[in-house]
Amino acid sequence: MRHFSEEELIAYHLRENPDEVVVSHHLESCTECADLSESIAETLRVFSADPVPQPDLEQNWRRLRGSLRVLTPEHRRDVGFSLRHWAWPAIGFATAALIVLTMLSVRVHRTNEIRRNIAVNGHGPLTTEPIDPAIANHLDAAERLLTEVNNSSGRLDNTTREQAHTLLLQNAVYVHDARDSGDLAGAAILENFGRVLTTLDNEPPTPHSIWRLRLEMNTSGLLLDIRILQQNDDRSQGVSQ
């Protein structure tokens, strides 16, 4: 008898499993899967929807209206572009360097324990040691940014570029951590991601810059690598708990 995995049963409870009838029949005869299924159902019940507070529309409109500028044709041009042309990359680079140096100098005092290496390609679980939970956020953010890069046409908006700037600072720290712990494969992937971020953060956006970035830095391949790192991260967390 083939048992269903946790993932398949979660999909079943969220009505995302196409084999709903098969799963349902199996649960009637398999105690092991029925227990797991009940545990998932209980979790979903515990996290059922709470009531949502109603916002005060009038008050929110008054607050918002004060921030709205009148949109005229001249406002539609990207006025920030000329400013950014040389000044922002220089300021950004200097700030990034300063913050990274500060963070690295703090981290240098931490214990340099050698963790077991996590392979890039494979079918984990690949480590039993606890990992930094913040890396999961970083990898999620990296995935979203690379997806944006892979799917955008024309220039990236300012929010995405600001996000790239923030990620650049964090990424340097994770590259350093990965190298320190002997995770050379992970460090290499994050270094490649860092190159993408540096380009986004420093190069002035042009209509073709995203296309060039995708081709030169193989951002699709990098996205796949980041997803594999995420998978390694999930599996190592699952085993360690």
């Binding site: 979660i10 916002p55 921030s67 709205l68 949109l71 997806t147």
Partner: protein
Amino acid sequence: MDKAEAEAIRDVLAGDRDAYRVLMDRHFCSVSRIAFRITGNEADAEEAAQEAFLRAYNKLPNFRQDSTFSTWIMRIAMNTAINLVERRMRDFSYYAPRIADEPSATEHTVRIADTQAGPEASLLHREAISLRQAAMAELTPMERTAFTLRHMEDVPMAEIAAALNVTSNSAKQAVFRAVSKLRRSLTPIAGGLR
């Protein structure tokens, strides 16, 4: 797209700020609701909804009207709320009041009330809420968003994926990871990992 909304957008682009009220009246509640699910508290939800509407207003000249305003604003709202949660995670002391003997609004201090030491049921209720909050805090912003939208708001996976700008499979995996993590977080109490 709805005719009234298309007209409102045209008026805003022609310089009439008040025309934006039409769009806000129609969509602010649903945007605020989604933001509440993602941020988990009313103050942040309101801030995210406000920011989303402001960003949408500023981006309105670039809005391609081949999709609906509602889909577009939801997508902006989700990203804004996720970014806010990420910011809060970096600066977790942002809203934290300090405890003092006397509460003070200017000093942002509070006094812990001892008059509510009530019955056992109240204690258990508070404990359950705190366990749920702790479990949710373990999720990444993307996992939290995907999970709450799918499970609590019943948003189809394809819409979540489009809003998060990831593939449908990635959104699905984020939901699965979230449920799995929440289940493990509940291990100490009934219904957790058995």
